[in-house]
């Protein structure tokens, strides 16, 4: 990818710049699409149609119109807020979320950096997100904001444990943290002759690992049934209460980027990343990006589907689920996967 860019771009720093904003372009287009999709999914699940007017065909440009409206809005900072921290928080939130995309292999030809600590880096850098949410909550000088921020921090710190343990159980099988190498290991059709060589088909415990990972990633990206940080019925809007205009939009973008990030990590760890499900059919760098994003979008769709299906958990139920069920289960699963690796 870098050589390809160097072939028609004149200067070195320009190549680095273009190389590093490719995921940003993907995220921006994806966020516009995903917010529209969320509204359509919500509508159809509730037996409505969702947005139908803007842009003609099924309201396809509704989010674009919303974006234009949001950019024009006044940037309001509450009088008693901590101005500097209040203004900075959304940028740190999005920077933390975007920085994690460095280690995601979008296709066999594009990965931001081939660091050998890939997944570990993603887990570490997203922890900046909870700090930035505390920053937003505290700087807003609002009870709802701070309560939401506290919940977020507690939730993120707790659910990091099952996420890391399930990722670790996949790492036992692959033996590498680099997501590109993890994907390359899953190329081909090995299982029963027709199933793709994906890690989810590796052993029955991998299915359990995926379910645990998916639940924990729902909580990490603050989606229903774990969206306590911004539960509208009790906390107004959580840490976003005082935000308006594009700063609020950045928080929204961060949430959707986080969903995509965790879905892509899930797709890479369990569903073969950029590998085609049909062996060598429709394979290659460009098709790879297509498959990767398709798998990611499917998981994002499941997240939306769950949002309009399940009710929200209470705070104590949330902590119970994490500490009493998910963490013990993920540790048992880790040991079982290690034993499976040892025996077979």
């Amino acid at each position: 990818m870098q050589q390809f860019l160097e072939s028609f771009l004149p200067a070195g720093p320009l190549v680095v710049f273009v190389f590093s904003i490719i995921p940003l372009m993907i995220i921006l287009v994806y966020a516009l699409f995903a917010i529209w999709l969320e509204r359509k999914v919500a509508g159809h699940i509730q037996d409505r149609l969702g947005p139908m007017v803007t842009g003609g065909w099924h309201g396809w440009s509704q989010t674009i119109a919303d974006l234009l409206k949001m950019i024009q809005k006044e940037d309001i900072v509450p009088a008693k807020a901590d101005r500097f921290l209040f203004k900075m928080a959304p940028f740190i939130a999005f920077a933390a979320s975007y920085a994690a995309f460095v280690a995601i292999p979008f296709s066999s030809g594009y990965i931001g950096s081939m660091i050998d600590i890939g997944v570990f880096y993603i887990v570490a850098i997203t922890s900046l997100l909870s700090v930035s949410i505390i920053m937003a909550g505290w700087a807003s000088n609002n009870k709802w904001s701070l309560l939401g921020a506290m919940r977020t921090a507690a939730q993120t710190v707790s659910y990091e444990v099952p996420t890391v343990v399930t990722i670790l159980s996949v790492i036992i099988v692959t033996g590498t943290l680099n997501l590109m190498e993890v994907t390359e290991m899953q190329t081909g059709n090995a299982f029963l002759g027709f199933l793709p060589n994906w890690l989810i088909f590796h052993s029955p415990f991998m299915v359990i690992a995926f379910v645990l990972f998916f639940i924990a990633s729902l909580a990490e990206s603050h989606r229903v049934p774990f969206d306590l940080p911004e539960s509208e019925s009790e906390l107004v809007g959580g840490y976003q209460t005082e935000y308006s205009g594009m700063r609020w939009g950045l928080f929204m973008l961060t949430e959707y980027a986080d969903m995509l990030l965790l879905s892509l990590v899930g797709a890479t760890l369990f569903f073969g990343g950029w590998n085609s499900p049909f062996g060598s059919f429709m394979d290659g760098p460009v098709w790879g990006a297509f498959w990767m994003l398709l798998k990611g979008m499917l998981l994002v769709f499941v997240m939306m589907w769950l949002r309009w299906t399940l009710p929200r958990l209470r705070v104590d139920q949330l902590m119970n689920l994490c500490w009493k069920y998910l963490i013990p289960l993920s540790f048992v699963n880790l040991v079982l996967i290690a034993l499976w690796e040892l025996i077979f």
Binding site: A124, S127, W138
Partner: protein, 188 residues
């Protein structure tokens, strides 16, 4: 100057600036957030030195763990959430002398030491090598550190459990007795 030198100086400014804010700020929450930039900048330094694992561990442990704990501690121990906690300057003279001596000592060490400059070796796989070393040559320290952390966790659980007085278990507290039919310990 190449890109990594530019990054080095940018992160140096970030680290020194945020460390100064952390020390001199009167608002303790500002100090805590300034600490985040210092720690993250140090992680960037490790990354510039090709110590990726150390950089990421720095982020995970200090920014993701300890800093969140500090923020929780600061916010939960104050009387009101938004009461601005003011710090004040005490022991100005002894601390200045102490800091001056340590600073001079560090500068003296930095100037007098002969620094060995090794060229970077290509193709070093840090992660695999580190894992192998941890499970062979440094097995004992690794295990001892693990046992130490386990002891800390057990101790923390014990301290948290002790805050419930024992008579609550016998059901002598009528307000909490009916609250937990599933046998969960009532929240204090």
């Amino acid at each position: 100057m190449d890109l990594s030198a530019v990054a080095f100086y940018l992160f140096s400014i970030l680290i020194i600036g945020s460390a100064a804010i952390m020390v001199f700020s009167k608002n303790i929450v500002h100090s805590a957030f300034a600490l985040m930039f210092t720690l993250a900048g140090l992680a960037a330094f490790y990354a510039l030195l090709y110590a990726g694992f150390v950089a990421v561990t720095q982020l995970l442990v200090y920014v993701g763990g300890i800093l969140v704990l500090i923020l929780f501690g600061v916010m939960l121990t104050t009387r009101g959430y938004f009461e601005k906690v003011r710090t004040r300057t005490v022991n100005l003279l002894p601390s200045t002398i102490f800091a001056g001596i340590i600073g001079m000592l560090l500068i003296a060490v930095f100037v007098t030491t002969k620094w060995a400059m090794n060229p970077m070796e290509d193709g070093e796989v840090t992660m695999t090598g580190l894992g192998e070393l941890l499970l062979t040559d440094f097995m004992l320290p690794f295990q001892v550190a693990g046992v130490l952390l386990l002891l800390a966790i057990i101790g923390a659980v014990l301290m948290a459990a002790r805050s419930h007085p024992p008579q609550q278990k016998a059901g002598s507290n009528p307000q909490n007795a009916g609250r937990s039919p599933s046998g969960e310990p009532p929240e204090s």
